[in-house]
């Protein structure tokens, strides 16, 4: 983990030297705000991957929840109904994913990839290409406002990080998730109710995607069917750069936050330095490979001296 922090420091240093505007507090806060949004959508996903699962429907789920939340706010005018609709939709999708993976034993890749298509279908049918826009300022503050100088999504991120950290380290549930990720059959034969734990994980992932959907709605001040689709790959990249392994049993939320920060730094740096946009995927790809290299070297090092 400490190697990855050094990695982030190096990137910040490099960007700070090359662009005067980078190292200003307002820009760093700006980066933190953008990173916390990726973190929120990827936090639930992290726990699913720790449990050796996979949730490709995060992006689509986020988009649908944002649309339902928007419709709810427009219909009832109250923000709480928007929150409720968004998170409820997220939970419902997560639950469905969990049931498919555990009870119907559909492999996680196919279950959530199939769910992704179905959610898009529902979203296109529901929105019919329209957008719902124009929300009250206090709702929009949730996404783009700040409190005591710190962007509100950053508070939400810290709450998510603390809650996630406590769940994984200080509760028996958390440790059981790591055991399931490491060897699901051994966990089952150790009396851990693997089925219900995984359903809990997928539901949690759905709930976080739903919550992130509401925050994105507040930030964008509008909802359309396509919000979620570009958010899937960054969420997965953030989790993987953060050192959580797809085979399960290792990694955590702190890593995902660092992954989200690294991804946002790349975009922020490219914008500030005015580098032609066509170079963006190239730089992101190289950063992902470097992070993976650091991760495998530290892992092999740790293995030798365990």
């Amino acid at each position: 983990m400490k190697y990855r922090l050094i990695g982030v420091a190096l990137i910040v240093l490099a960007l700070g030297l090359s662009s005067h505007a980078f190292a200003t507090p307002s820009n760093l806060l700006n980066v933190l705000r953008q990173a916390s949004l990726i973190f929120l959508s990827a936090s639930g996903l992290t726990l699913v991957i720790v449990g050796a699962g996979l949730d490709l429907s995060v992006g689509a789920n986020l988009g649908l929840s944002a649309c339902f939340a928007a419709a709810a706010i427009k219909a009832t005018g109250t923000l709480s109904s928007g929150f409720a609709a968004g998170v409820a939709c997220g939970i419902a999708v997560g639950l469905l994913n969990g049931l498919m993976v555990t009870k119907l034993r559909v492999p996680p890749f196919i279950a959530t990839y199939g769910m992704l298509w179905m959610l898009y279908g529902v979203n296109y049918w529901y929105m019919k290409g329209d957008t719902i826009y124009g929300f009250p300022p206090d709702f929009r503050a949730l996404g783009s406002g700040d409190l005591l100088g710190v962007p509100i999504p950053v508070y939400l991120m810290t709450i998510g990080l603390l809650a996630g950290g406590i769940f994984t380290r200080y509760t028996t549930y958390g440790h059981e998730v790591y055991a399931i990720g490491a060897n699901a059959e051994a966990a089952r034969l150790s009396g851990i109710p693997v089925g219900s734990r995984l359903i809990l994980l997928y539901t949690l992932s759905g709930a976080m995607a739903g919550l992130a959907g509401v925050i994105y709605l507040a930030r964008l001040n509008s909802a359309e069917a396509g919000i979620g689709s570009p958010l899937l790959l960054p969420a997965i990249a953030a989790v993987l750069i953060g050192g959580t392994s797809l085979f399960g049993g290792s990694g955590g939320l702190a890593g995902t936050l660092i992954g989200a920060i690294i991804l946002t730094l790349v975009l922020n740096g490219m914008n500030l330095l005015g580098i032609n946009s066509n170079w963006q995927p190239l730089v992101t790809g190289v950063i992902i490979l470097i992070a993976a290299l650091i991760d495998s070297v530290t892992r092999r090092h740790a293995e030798l001296h365990a």
Partner: protein, 345 residues
Amino acid sequence: MLNCMPDERALYMTSAGSLKFAFNGLVLLIAALVLAACGESGNKSPETTRESVALFTKNQTNPYFQTIRVAAQAAATELNVDLVNYIPTSNDSIPEQMSQIEDAITKHPSAVVFVPVDSKAMIPGVEKFNAAGIPVINLIDRSDGGEFVSFMGCDDYAVALNTARYLFEKMNGKGNVIIIEGQGGSSNNQKRVSGFKKALEDFPSVKLLASQTGNFQRAMALQVTENLLQAHPQIDGILAANDAMALGAIEALDAANRKALVIGVNGTKEAIDAVKAGKLLATGDCDGFVQGCMGTMAAVRHLKNLPVPKEVIFPITVFNSTNYQGADVPYEQRMCPKWESIVKN
């Protein structure tokens, strides 16, 4: 912690019952899907007397194309013609639009109104229509090849140029601006950005600080604008390659309580409302609703071998705080204009 090889499909205790229930549920769902399908195509049995027009649009999510589809349907019902929509399942997917062209040919529509995903890549598709003897109206984005009955659309380059000029005039010719580009690889993004750049040449004292991509997405445009606001303390104007990105930029400005004149392209309803509210300076377009109507009308006229001009360039209107009136009516209530009112010659 290291990684090891857990069994991806862990063996849990599942009662076969829950599986059976889920499977029956699924079969019912598929059956419902099929019934809905045959219900749909039932009334469109092949021996219909009504002509059928196939409308190809680029994606499901951009409200601009929803306007086109609503308008085309309005014209189709008015002219008593069937309208069949072909929209790729993954947005702006070139191979998928190509497949949809081939599939549509087997249905042999009477005429096609075609909005290409990419001006060059879709040429073989149009040639397939020509080979099948199906008349094609090229709508909105000009395809660089294949025969068309007529091209009806507006020139992205000109729209961008005029809207940018309007912005620079409003900035009375000086100040700093940034450009938010569209998706790398899309042809109308190339045309609009070059239109912006041409306008810049006409106003030498307007300085271009940066040109970054927002991928035609509101969220990314917001993030890019936030970043650029950090780098450039003084930004007077923002040129966005479509309305969604313009509105994203506005959100970023509000959040950072900075002021700048923002322009967009497409003239979507939301953009018109933003112009009305004074947040968006202007949005250039040739009125998507009118184009949707004219596309279908042109197709029907051709089938009735009424004259259809080879090319119809819609007048470019830069909707700003003065002239947005007609455009903010919801599409459902709007009526298609008369053919003669648009086509002079």
